[in-house]
């Protein structure tokens, strides 16, 4: 049988395909909170680890028997970002959405309600004093002038650091590097013994940002924060110097060969957990590896093969990088969710209640509210690491960006310098140009 396929039909396919990424703004699900029988249903979307969220939900539902929490877990990108966009366009966002402070929160701010009043009502007038300063700063990042609304409530906090493989270091008689030349030396020794020196998932952006922030905040604390708001130049000598050091990490053998094609998760984390990597830029969340279901790699159990440190001093008589961090993951209450009291009650429990305690007991990350801590037994080594992070968190520098366009330009600059396609100054000039045009548009 001769069955012709009309080219016009094929062109229809092409047309559909070419607009598919933006045109499928159809209702993702019936996400609005409803009353199911006698029970109130609260819908929650996030990329927050499901097993931990399930524990938080179980703890909440136990004390709120008339509430059912329906949690939808997504991988952050592309699934979560796509789902949020589609749901926002079709007005079917759930009651609570997981957010990162700054760019992502700003993108969905029109669909969210400010949480200041609810927080004050729940925790009293001085509720902000129970939060870490860096978290408070990030909760209003990117708001229009005069808008002090907090559209995100931190669920967990984090501190960025470097972790090293204590077993490998001991075996090779290496000491924790305190200067950049020592780091380069350690990397060479690690490489010559078959280890990946410092694993960098430079194909993604977040780990690149974190390492650069450590460098920049070491040379000029807080300068990058001013630069992202257009109050300082991206081409300031300290930021150029930090960018130069960033590029050198790729060319001096500190990062693994081919780092620009590698991802931190899952590949890097698996190699690190298996003991095949010397150093990796991660953060306080690395502790959670200990709580994963068995079998655990030997180094991971009780973190006995790992310890944190901060980026070594760049200048000859300098100091290691100060802690960088802030909100790991937060939550926002949508306009639909604001109509359901149980939605705020659940959100509040995630940040300051049984939900938060369940997360902390999974060592998922650091608490959003002070004075919370895991209630499970921890070894002295883990307890010491955990408490060390809490101390650092109280004076951590901001790690987040307020505006996605500027963050993207910055990510491009990091990638260009790493790939050797642009000089540090030229790359930062482009970021400066985007920043200037963004604030003047």
């Amino acid at each position: 049988m001769h069955r012709p396929i009309r080219a016009i039909a094929a062109s229809g396919f092409m047309i559909s395909a070419s607009v598919l990424s933006l045109a499928t703004i159809l209702p993702a699900s019936s996400a609005a909170a409803t009353v199911s029988g006698k029970k109130t249903v609260v819908t929650v979307w996030s990329w927050f680890i499901k097993s931990t969220m399930d524990k938080a939900i179980a703890a909440f539902e136990k004390t709120h028997p008339n509430v059912v929490i329906r949690y939808s877990y997504y991988n952050y990108s592309p699934q979560y970002l796509t789902a949020l966009k589609a749901a926002a366009a079709s007005n079917t966002l759930p009651d609570i959405i997981g957010l990162q402070p700054g760019a992502l929160t700003q993108q969905y701010r029109p669909y969210l309600v400010p949480l200041n009043r609810l927080a004050e009502k729940t925790w009293g007038k001085n509720w902000e004093s129970r939060l870490y300063p860096v978290d408070i700063k990030q909760m209003t990042m990117g708001n229009p002038p005069g808008n002090s609304g907090m559209y995100i409530m931190p669920q967990e906090s984090q501190v960025i650091c470097l972790w090293y493989n204590t077993v490998a270091f001991k075996r090779l008689h290496l000491t924790v590097p305190t200067t950049l030349p020592e780091l380069v030396h350690d990397a060479k020794v690690l490489s010559s013994h078959g280890y990946i020196p410092m694993y960098q998932g430079a194909a993604g952006a977040w780990q690149n940002e974190n390492v650069y922030l450590m460098l920049a905040d070491q040379l000029a604390p807080g300068l990058i924060d001013k630069a992202q708001y257009g109050k300082a130049s991206w081409t300031s000598p300290a930021l150029v110097k930090a960018m130069t050091v960033w590029g050198s990490l790729f060319h001096d053998g500190v990062f693994q060969s081919g780092a620009l094609g590698d991802q931190a998760y899952p590949t890097g984390a698996q190699l690190f957990a298996d003991g095949r990597v010397g150093i990796m830029a991660l953060g306080s969340w690395w502790l959670q590896e200990d709580r994963y279901p068995p079998p655990l790699p030997p180094l991971v159990k009780n973190m006995k093969g790992f310890a944190p440190f901060y980026f070594p001093a760049i200048e000859p008589h300098g100091h290691p990088s100060p802690p960088v961090g802030g909100v790991d993951v937060g939550d926002g209450l949508t306009k639909a969710g604001a109509k359901i009291p149980a939605a705020w009650q659940f959100l509040a429990s995630l940040v300051d209640g049984k939900g938060e305690q369940a997360s902390l007991n999974d060592l998922n990350d650091l608490p959003a509210f002070k004075f919370f801590e895991p209630t499970i037994p921890l070894t002295a080594h883990m307890k010491s690491i955990y408490n060390g992070f809490l101390v650092k968190l109280s004076h951590a520098h901001n790690q987040r960006f307020a505006y996605p366009v500027i963050e993207n330009a910055f990510d491009n600059a990091l990638a260009a310098v790493a790939a050797g396609t642009e000089s540090p100054l030229a790359a930062l000039k482009k970021v400066q140009s985007v920043t200037v045009s963004t604030f003047h548009s």
């Binding site: 396929i5 092409m14 047309i15 990424s21 703004i25 081919g258 620009l260 996605p404 604030f439």
Partner: protein, 302 residues
């Protein structure tokens, strides 16, 4: 006869109003799923969002920004690489495989067909992870094998701006060649046995048989694969997204990842819509060119 013809014409005239109704479902589906999205995207492409999220009229500003952005031209270059390499290579290898499987396997024919087709039905996520691990310079399967004979990569295939797009193209060829093979097998089945026997009796074999008999007889398959290849090129997304996310430094960026980044990560819906309209125009031009030079009918036959 004349009265019968007259009656038929009257009957047709009576039925004519209802003929149009049969088109309505197709028109409705077209309007909802093709025309409306295109209209929406075209309309949205004329707006931009300010720093604090206020949407405002931008006219053709988004289009100017798209064309002024050097990354856009990297994307265009990559799409040309993708089409120019994947389509002919998949067709040639697929054709050779089809011929080899059909001509030289007998009892094991189904097994070979299945084996070569497995990559097509394998999850793209699995393919991306496996090939990323094959390419990895430190711990990669390819590097470990080559190390045995003293070869060490000087650059990482996915981590180097000069090789990333080609490394992914190789994976794409590996994934989709089985589909080309299947199409050619179907095409070969439509060639009359008498034609092949006659050609052989006339002394045609090898290159001559392929050039003067098989290729012309399979021209329908060739046209279909060309068309599907162009569509596939414009739709490319998951493999690139999973293996490099368009990096390093946009070196492997394709339309899919570029539109996704602006639309979903950066929240620049207007800019992403303008990009989508540009892709739409490219698709239409490609379609018109194909209709002009290859005709509008496609089939497995020549």
């Amino acid at each position: 006869m004349p009265s019968r013809a007259l009656a038929a014409r009257r009957h047709a005239r009576r039925q004519r109003p209802f003929h149009h109704l049969f088109v309505l479902p197709a028109l409705a589906i077209f309007a909802l799923f093709v025309a409306y999205p295109i209209g929406w995207v075209a309309y949205t492409s004329l707006f931009a969002v300010s720093l604090h999220g206020v949407s405002h009229w931008a006219g053709l500003g988004n289009y100017r920004s798209v064309l002024d952005n050097p990354t856009f031209w990297i994307v265009v270059r990559n799409m040309f690489y993708w089409a120019l390499i994947t389509i002919p290579v998949q067709m040639v290898i697929g054709g050779l495989l089809a011929w080899a499987v059909e001509e030289y396997t007998h009892r094991s024919r189904a097994l070979f067909r299945t084996l070569f087709f497995v990559p097509v039905i394998t999850s793209v996520v699995v393919i991306a992870i496996v090939w990323s691990n094959i390419y990895a310079p430190y711990y990669g399967i390819l590097q470990q094998g080559l190390s045995e004979i003293g070869i060490h990569f000087q650059t990482a295939l996915l981590g180097s701006a000069g090789t990333a797009i080609f490394a992914i193209i190789i994976v794409n060829v590996w994934e989709w060649t089985g589909f080309s093979m299947l199409m050619y097998i179907a095409g070969l089945k439509t060639i009359p046995v008498q034609l092949l026997e006659a050609a052989r009796m006339d002394g045609a074999s090898g290159i001559n048989l392929a050039r003067f008999v098989l290729v012309p007889a399979l021209s329908g398959v060739n046209r279909s694969l060309l068309l599907l290849g162009v569509i596939g090129t414009l739709q490319t997304f998951p493999l690139v997204f999973l293996m490099t996310d368009g990096g390093p430094d946009h070196a492997s960026e394709v339309f899919g990842t570029y539109i996704f980044r602006h639309g979903f990560v950066l929240g620049q819906t207007g800019y992403a819509s303008a990009l989508s309209v540009v892709v739409l125009v490219i698709a239409l031009v490609m379609t018109l060119l194909q209709i002009r030079f290859l005709g509008s009918k496609f089939s497995l036959k020549g």
